[in-house]
Symmetry: C2
Subunit: 366 residues, 2 copies
Amino acid sequence: MPDVHAVRRSRLADHLSQEGLTAAMVTDLVNVRYLTGFTGSNAALWLAADTTTDAGARLATDGRYRDQSAAECPDIERVIDRALARALLDAAHLSPGSVVAVETHSLSVDAYTGVTELLTASSVVARSIDRAIEQLRTVKDKTEQAALRQACDISVGALDALHAGPLLGRSEREIARDLEQKMYERGAEAVGFDTIVATGPHSAIPHHQPTDRMVADGDFLKIDFGARYEGYHADCTRTVVVGAAQAWQSDIYAAVRAAQQAGLDACVAGRDIAESDREVRRALDEAGHLEHFTTGLGHGVGLQIHEDPFISARHTGKLHAGTALTMEPGIYLAGRGGVRIEDTLVVTSGAPEVLTAATKDLLELP
Amino acid sequence: MPDVHAVRRSRLADHLSQEGLTAAMVTDLVNVRYLTGFTGSNAALWLAADTTTDAGARLATDGRYRDQSAAECPDIERVIDRALARALLDAAHLSPGSVVAVETHSLSVDAYTGVTELLTASSVVARSIDRAIEQLRTVKDKTEQAALRQACDISVGALDALHAGPLLGRSEREIARDLEQKMYERGAEAVGFDTIVATGPHSAIPHHQPTDRMVADGDFLKIDFGARYEGYHADCTRTVVVGAAQAWQSDIYAAVRAAQQAGLDACVAGRDIAESDREVRRALDEAGHLEHFTTGLGHGVGLQIHEDPFISARHTGKLHAGTALTMEPGIYLAGRGGVRIEDTLVVTSGAPEVLTAATKDLLELP
């Protein structure tokens, strides 16, 4: 069975061939990891469209990563040289007239200038790769789905354990640290992003940073968090009430839950990605709360916490089976409180597979 | 007393004037934070060289950050618009022939293309800012030094507390999590970077990632870690022996300690930055271990964990009072073990102020 990274490189090589590109110089480190498994902080990958030549795939990194690159990428030729781009171009022996794809969306102007000077000296042309690797990454393979599933299981396990203990009187910061510790105990390699713990009126702030405010009786407690596992990110939000829910809290909670379900129902392979956004907004509008939903609906998730595709009215295109997304509508009532319910899911030909399997019933916790 | 950010902007405006630049479009978020205090994830700053005009300073960000930008940057005109560059340029009303500095070292090619198209339409020229803000940032003002000092105090307090407990039999991962928890308890806003805990033979790997390996009797225990406080990073490494030190351990420890002291002694305002590197290498060579020092000697530290200036034979230039640096020589004996001693310091006209005031005596801990 070919290595999962070799399969990904083969898909990119096919794309390069179709676009009439000789090779790609991959400089974005997330994309390098996706295509090779290398996790260090300095590297570039050369990938030829014609994988039958000895040029094939070649990874350049510096001396700090000699052993690590050998361990992580045993099947790829490696060059240890601080001048990554120069080393890769020297090794490639390009013919005049070759066209090299570069990552103009992330490569800095100065780095690009350096690369194009080297290319021009060999009568070779640079062209934008036009986010081709980000596009490939939108459909997760089995290895990626397994890592996402594990990241989500760790996260949900940690949240359930947190919810099992008393919450009243604990500070936002303390709850955040406790939840993070519980993710580590369950095998998280890292906390995927800054944990949001928002109590009472703070829950109306979509991206609140934890403070020393203590959970009071009757507060909403909104937690947006996720573990990282083998590089893949879980992203989950649940909102509970500490004490007994008041009517307005139950009302907006029910509205968000129904809106999220409407979004999930529209999230099917082959349908337009904007349909979920339309359905969620329709549901929130019917509940009289459309104006209180002030964030984006969702985003791709994988090696990055936010990646292509994004869900909004501005983003169109068909959903594909295997795409991992978040779906995170909310209602935010400034000064009072807010609710967000967010899942990480994988698109299928039927109902999406929801990976963050924590209950969405409104919990009233002590 | 003028706001610290206004003082920094004034210094940049002076630089722009001297270079014949009309204004700068600052897109690097760390630099935006340095010049404004804004901590959100999407913004750009317009700064005119002539600060007497109403163009002055203007911050663009999107709707998510309307309230946060108002709270963090009350003294700057703000534009809320998703099209950051366009909004800033529209508001600036530039005359034909103006020259706008852009951050070509970090701005992507695609973003730069968008900006230059807008500029060309107004007969305005773009020019590289040539890392001018990174250069300003190398000298820390009092506010920055206070934040660095606090980050280092938190870090040292956490390490001392960790060292006070038993270490034998604990895993690298467990020790890393415990140390991080202790930093949070002491007021860290975040862990500044991935904590390195390396035991026994793992200590020979400069940038080892914690595993489930347990501390065994006679092991080196090398910990490289640091807290973040108000955006500023501490960076500290200490190596201890768990149990009784063997002669080879005491020998390489003493060699690293002496080499680090030689580096600190050469780290004086007005002297060349490469002198510390020469002195450290001379000391390690005399000890017969120069070949076992395989990393860089140090780097600037502040809003980023690694920033200008870097200390190595390749980097020259004078040291300035107020520059914050790390000094981190090591000896790494593959398969056996290694020692690194690292401090965060501030350059002065005399001996550097070492902010990471943990003992450098070789500790033998239970």
